[in-house]
Symmetry: C2
Subunit: 142 residues, 2 copies
């Protein structure tokens, strides 16, 4: 299979703030202050289902999703982690790692479609991004 | 940590039909004929987040989720696989593996809360369970 250069899907880019790169995945923060919500996007082009990654990439993805979940839990003190990969609208694989609180506006439902996204206050967003970068030992994306 | 005997959460049991056991997970079919919808429940008690499994169990879970996704895609010819683990309502870990079609009643949204579940016609359910058992080389649960 010819190598296809990976680029971040523009719709995912528009809906997120960059956090940093893990060995396989770009880590992003969703533009929705209702929930601390990371997305992990493997930097591999042309794959649209989790089970289609190589065994090595599949292991790396699982490891990185777990690391992101631990980081988000440690940073936010959330009550529960929700993890999901759909790809129904944006086909490029992106794994949602969402910190849920009993007090959040969608609890206990999955977050999609319950309340409109709300903007982050910039300082709050910067603090959260920095805390996740520190917890995951990430450098900002150049 | 003392070993706690695993039993299937009664709410999950009530919402599913048994399909069979993989090395780590019990495989179940959700009682909703709107979507071909498997659930994988690791037979481990006392763990409530994916990142809290041992590395060996975490690898097995990932492998079994992928195998269930491949089987569901092969058996149903669905357009997309959706994978999710929430645990907001029923805390016992259960991973949803859902076959989505462009023609299904929730497409392209996540399935939760969109339309009420509908009952399977028993013969159709038995055919689907048997096809998944065959694809995953499962024996029925004794």
């Amino acid at each position: 299979m010819p190598e296809i250069a990976w680029t971040l899907n523009p719709r995912i880019a528009a809906d997120t703030f960059p956090v940093g790169d893990l060995p396989l995945c770009r880590v992003l923060l969703a533009k929705d202050a209702n929930y601390p919500w990371l997305m992990l996007v493997p930097r591999r082009a042309g794959i649209f289902e989790l089970m289609d990654y190589s065994p090595e990439d599949r292991r790396a993805l699982s490891t990185e999703v777990d690391a992101a979940a631990r980081a988000l839990k440690a940073v936010t003190g959330c009550d529960k982690i929700n993890i999901a990969a759909f790809g129904n609208v944006v086909p490029d694989v992106h794994v949602h790692v969402i910190g849920r609180r009993h007090s959040d506006p969608a609890w206990p439902k999955p977050v999609w479609g319950v309340v409109p996204a709300i903007d982050y206050e910039p300082a709050a967003r910067e603090r959260l991004v920095k805390a996740v970068q520190d917890a995951l030992k990430l450098s900002p994306i150049p």
